[in-house]
Symmetry: C4
Subunit: 193 residues, 4 copies
């Protein structure tokens, strides 16, 4: 148990590294416009907004991951894998962002983007459960996370957004933006502990 802080710090360091790369890679994929005038710059508008959205989205995960790990005591082999599972799905966000941008918001790419937002939400939920299992139902983490209503509701709104995309792309995107706004507020349940 005395070695736990070291293990935790390395888990955090690795997660920080992967998330830092994911969040920075996305700008690498911003292609410069063909021309050098205002029309060329304006042609980037929707790509830029998608970049902002994905940046915020990955930033939210970093913030929540930060708050979550802050409350954690014990790390197990299962936690390492649950964390890698979360990082795996996050690593796909630059790819789905790029495809959605290239498609100029075609139906399937927008739905797939939604899936790439839903899967980290599920993976985050699994990570929280794994952490509670590792630390016990009476631990600080179990106490402050509680039932994680916010996480479950987010996943449901993502699923709704994916479905709505097939009716209207903008309805889907509206759902994604709503969840981002909900999470922009840091998880005060943990911060106040």
């Amino acid at each position: 148990m005395s070695v736990a802080p070291l293990t935790k710090s390395r888990l955090e360091a690795f997660s920080d590294g992967v998330i830092a790369i994911i969040i920075t890679i996305m700008v690498l994929e911003l292609k410069t416009p063909e021309g050098f005038d205002l029309a060329a710059l304006m042609s980037l508008t929707h790509i830029f907004l998608l970049y902002v959205l994905s940046f915020v989205y990955v930033g939210i995960y970093w913030n929540n991951h930060h708050h979550l790990m802050h409350a954690v005591g014990r790390i197990t082999g299962g936690v390492l894998w649950a964390n890698l599972h979360l990082l795996f799905w996050l690593s796909l966000v630059p790819f789905t962002t790029r495809w959605m941008g290239e498609s100029h918001l075609a139906t399937l790419p927008v739905a797939v983007y939604g899936v790439s937002l839903l899967m980290p939400a599920i993976a985050y939920y699994i990570l929280v459960r794994t952490l509670i299992a590792a630390n016990g139902r009476d631990s600080a983490i179990a106490h402050v996370i509680g039932k994680d209503v916010k996480g479950v509701v987010s996943a449901l709104i993502y699923a709704l957004g994916i479905g709505l995309t097939f009716l209207s792309v903008w309805a889907g995107i509206a759902c994604y933006v709503i969840v981002a706004l909900v999470w922009l507020v840091p998880d005060r349940r943990i911060e106040h502990s």
Copy 2:
């Protein structure tokens, strides 16, 4: 409060990761010249100088971020977001550098480069204010930063440079270089505390 150093160290680690990637990504975007003779190498000169400028620029932010965090005690959820906001604008520097280089210093790309320098300056100012708000007006950070005249003046020179670009590209670039030189001197107000 006793956990603050951990939170702060993770904020620093994540920022270090993102800034390290931003500063290194730019060289990835240096395209090798078409030929292998001196003329081919010389054709890279202005691109190389832009790379040096942006490297110095991002390096300045790392140095100042380093000095700033050194004086900080308390981190809040608002600080995390103010910091991500700064990283967001910094992450656009490789993109604007590339576009400016591709345009061979056309007016709009040089002005947009100036905007990509101005926005981190504003974001840095917001971060400083958020840190002072979190640590109190009597804290070490409030004391050593003071009115941050240097930051405000820098932002004004950037704004001037953006405007001047539309008269003369070189006047705009001169403004950008002047601010870089001003910041190359580390913020002794913090270092000496």
Copy 3:
């Protein structure tokens, strides 16, 4: 000896950085499909599965590296180089993954992928031996690693897989997957110490 933790933590931090980049670079190389319909998405299936396999594979090395370093006391110059040697071979995995994907599982690229899995296994073995040599035959690391049967068997299965590829590509891939599954279970010899 009292400075060892610092040296070790920097070795871990550097390894975390390199492995984080390797694992994240692979998704950068996922090319978006030509179209935006289901057929286009489906055309990515085998590339996606290869990405999952390589992600898991690099993740396994991170996990095992994490467990291994946890049990280590003393770091020498030889350990630094043995560790860089491991990172070198891991850094080739994104390249061999990409070539295998581009070839639609042609014989030679699948065999070369196997080589890029075998070499880190050998490098990991060398790292373990170097660590035991640095820490002494009576050290914790020597005790918990023991004869490292799992590592030797893995290398043998990889070598078998490389050979089988020339008979059947799928037989080779089956071998690679088997080793991945074997290592997915964290090395309990170290975890339980």
Copy 4:
């Protein structure tokens, strides 16, 4: 003075991040061969050897940086910039490696590669001098580094190699390889302190 370890650890973390990216970026630039047979694979041989050389080269700098910082007590603003200066020149190694590879070892690119090896050597020398100036002529770092004959001799051999390249490309490359071999042995002056 009591805060020095923190400053130093952040300097190390940032340097680790940049060097980890530089060393890993190079493999991103390994282009997969056109075909999927042995001839295609063999066509990569000289590119692969250049990659190995540059990997070893950047690895040497990480190792020496690691040993150097280990002996350091005090960090100043000047040290931060001397360190960024070293990282700047190292960041160009992937670029010069790529150009040299594309040129199939043409004279000028091989000479420029030599320059990209010489400049970090000079920058490393400046970093050592800056560290000694910051820590005093009686400090541990001044004592263990001494006159840094190895660094000076390396720079001279690089300069020789750059010149020889214009007579024979292979003579230049031989000089670069010799310096790499010299540095492969970790700096025992520091390690033994």
